[in-house]
């Protein structure tokens, strides 16, 4: 399915629009990118993600203290936790361990984005492998793989991740793998169904008539043409991965020291002090929500940009 708009197509379609190149070389992805750039929703999403990425990458420079440091240990008493602005050198205050909240939020960005990206990459790789096998081979391979995927889908996502984390022990790696594996069924299903819908297309028939091998057809024709929905899903999944990662650490499956700089973990320990120090819950919570919002906005705009139904508007 090509994105090239019919050059002479009348009506309200885009030929008059200089931003959309209708000539040679205007591919699906290039047009989608042009559309994305003009969508304010996509820009907001991209800016949010860009900012958090920058903070995560520059954490060693930006953060006043290390992620697990407790610079304010002496300032904490059983009854007082200095809040934002109450103490010089700690602009967002301290937490119950004596950690600097600002530094922990910055290091937390690194931890959350890393978990989100690695786990989604894992889920994507696993799901694509199963999806390509199922969609490419069909028959009993397809049947077997899809029954397996059905079984995984019958367990709620978070519980699946929890069960996997239980086997692997409590660590950040366990959370990455757990979330990644729990995403496999979604990607596998999606890729398989798009591939199946493409299998009857004329260009596949043409490739078969040319005598190309099944592997070439699957890998160089079927797969690239089925990637659109998968990429959209991956962007949206990044949002869920960040939230799920926070949820698993919130439940206490992250391992490591209790004061580890991780947004979900910060929420766990904010629970007891909710009445006296609500900012300890609100700041990391807002960070999780805003990151998820960024990925969601980006994913949705990408879906719109790639959707042939909205493309001619």
């Amino acid at each position: 399915m090509s994105a090239i708009l019919p050059p002479a197509a009348g009506g309200s379609a885009a030929p008059d629009d200089p931003a959309i190149d209708t000539g040679r070389g205007a591919g699906l992805w290039r047009n989608a990118f042009v559309r994305l750039r003009r969508n304010p929703q996509a820009i907001v999403g991209a800016v949010i993600i860009g900012l958090f990425l920058l903070v995560a990458l520059l954490a060693p420079i930006l953060a006043p203290y290390g992620g697990n440091d407790l610079p304010g240990r002496t300032e904490i008493t059983p009854t007082t936790i200095p809040g934002p602005g109450e103490l010089d050198g700690f602009p967002l205050g301290l937490d119950r361990f004596g950690g600097d909240v600002l530094s922990k939020l910055i290091w937390g960005a690194q931890a959350s984005l890393l978990i989100g990206v690695v786990s989604t990459a894992l889920g994507l790789a696993g799901g694509m492998l199963l999806g390509v096998l199922a969609g490419g081979f069909g028959g009993w391979v397809d049947n077997l793989i899809m029954r397996f995927v059905d079984i995984l889908l019958s367990v709620p996502n978070l519980l699946l991740a929890v069960s996997i984390a239980a086997v692997l022990g409590q660590s950040a790696y366990a959370i990455m793998i757990a979330i990644g594996v729990s995403q496999i069924p979604i990607f596998a299903r999606l890729l398989r169904s798009t591939m199946l819908s493409q299998r009857g297309a004329d260009y596949i028939l043409a490739a078969q008539t040319l005598g190309l091998s099944r592997r070439t057809i699957t890998m160089s024709h079927l797969l690239p043409n089925s990637m659109g929905p998968v990429i959209v899903q991956a962007t949206l999944t990044l949002a869920t991965a960040v939230i799920d990662a926070a949820a698993l650490s919130f439940l206490g499956l992250g391992g490591g020291l209790p004061q580890t700089a991780e947004w979900g973990r910060m929420l766990t320990y904010a629970q007891a002090e909710l009445a006296v120090a609500p900012q300890l819950a609100f700041l990391p919570g807002a960070c999780i929500a805003i990151t998820a919002l960024g990925f969601t906005l980006l994913g949705e705009s990408l879906r719109e940009a790639l959707d042939p139904k909205t493309r001619t508007k």
Binding site: N157, L159, I243, A247, I288
Partner: protein, 334 residues
């Protein structure tokens, strides 16, 4: 109809069979093996050897699996490590609490979500529409446990309007028959107890309900948008039918099919959400019990619960499929 139900239940069997194998292997792959999982990490080698012999963990895997599946088929889900009581019994006492919470959450989500999605579609591009889109975005991106924190802080701590945790004020001496606290209060005529239990449900219900709410708003909006310009709606208008009839019996009814499907699919998310919500509100349901099970690696509980949920999930989806033919008579159940 009966044949359809029978067929669907028969289709469930291979899935459950596969799931039981996976769960069986899962427990065997826990760090230290099942005996350590039973006894805890500080168990002595002698104790482990004794448990291995007692439970037959030293026998071949195949033999162990058949014992396990045999017990499962008789409804024996094992004994909880944390509480020492049968897993099924633990579920039976806690499930009503979670079901009560889920029902409140769903009533809220459907009661607000469907009208809002409908209004958004009718006033496409106006303020209501934009508002609904923003609301559903918030619902998708704000983690449920964080939302629970915000609600608890504002309504229970700051303004003291609603109780912060628990299922019922312990000072109320309520009689319990069914473990559905609101229903119990209504049945026994202890209306103050029922009211108190209901107040305890509001905050967790709101928090949990925003997950399906966001998705219901979106699907309803998209579905109504698609249906409201359909040919049959134009025909109905041309026939001179009352606007109310057109909206109710033509647009809304036809737009409901994808909404119902979505509500069914949300159930898995709701269960995961319940684990988190019940933790924040110290609500003594299945979710909180599971959290303790996760912490204490109470594997018989986790194992039993996953099977239980898989069956429950499949049954809900069956009900959803069957409801199609009620909503849209053109859909014949096959």
């Amino acid at each position: 109809m009966l044949r359809v139900i029978g067929k669907r239940i028969a289709l469930l069997i291979p899935t459950l069979f596969g799931l039981s194998i996976l769960l069986f292997l899962w427990v065997r792959s826990l760090p230290g093996g099942p005996a350590t999982a039973l006894l805890g990490e500080k168990a002595t080698p002698e104790a482990i050897a004794r448990v291995n012999e007692l439970y037959g963990f030293d026998r071949p895997l195949i033999a162990q699996y058949f014992t396990y599946i045999g017990k499962l088929l008789q409804g024996d889900f094992g004994v909880s490590i944390n509480t020492g009581r049968p897993v099924l019994e633990e579920f039976a006492t806690r499930f009503p609490a979670t079901l009560e919470l889920t029902i409140i959450a769903l009533i809220f989500a459907i009661g607000v979500g469907v009208p809002l999605g409908y209004l958004a579609a009718r006033h496409y591009g106006r303020l209501v529409d934009h508002g609904s889109v923003v609301l559903s975005l918030i619902g998708i991106t704000v983690p449920v446990f964080f939302l629970a924190f915000i609600l608890k802080y504002l309504f229970a701590i700051q303004w003291s309007l609603l109780p912060p945790d628990g299922r019922q004020n312990p000072r109320i001496n309520a009689t319990h028959y069914t473990d559905f606290y609101v229903l119990d209060g209504l049945l026994t005529g202890e209306y103050d107890a029922a009211w108190d239990a209901f107040l305890h449900l509001i905050l967790p219900g709101l928090a949990l309900g925003t997950i399906p709410l966001a998705i219901i708003v979106r699907i309803t909006r998209a579905s109504v948008l698609e249906v409201q310009n359909a040919d049959f709606v134009r025909t109905a208008r041309a026939k001179g039918l009352m606007e109310r009839t057109i909206r109710g019996s033509f647009i809304l009814r036809n737009a409901m099919l994808p909404v119902v499907t979505t509500i069914g699919l949300q159930l898995g998310l709701l269960i995961s959400g319940a684990v988190l919500t019940e933790t924040v509100f110290a609500f003594n349901g299945i979710g909180r019990f599971l959290r303790d099970a996760i912490f204490g690696l109470d594997y018989p509980v986790l194992q039993g619960f996953i099977i239980f949920i898989a069956i429950f999930y499949a049954l809900i989806n069956l009900v959803v499929d069957l409801s199609y033919s009620v909503i849209d008579p053109r859909v014949r159940v096959q």
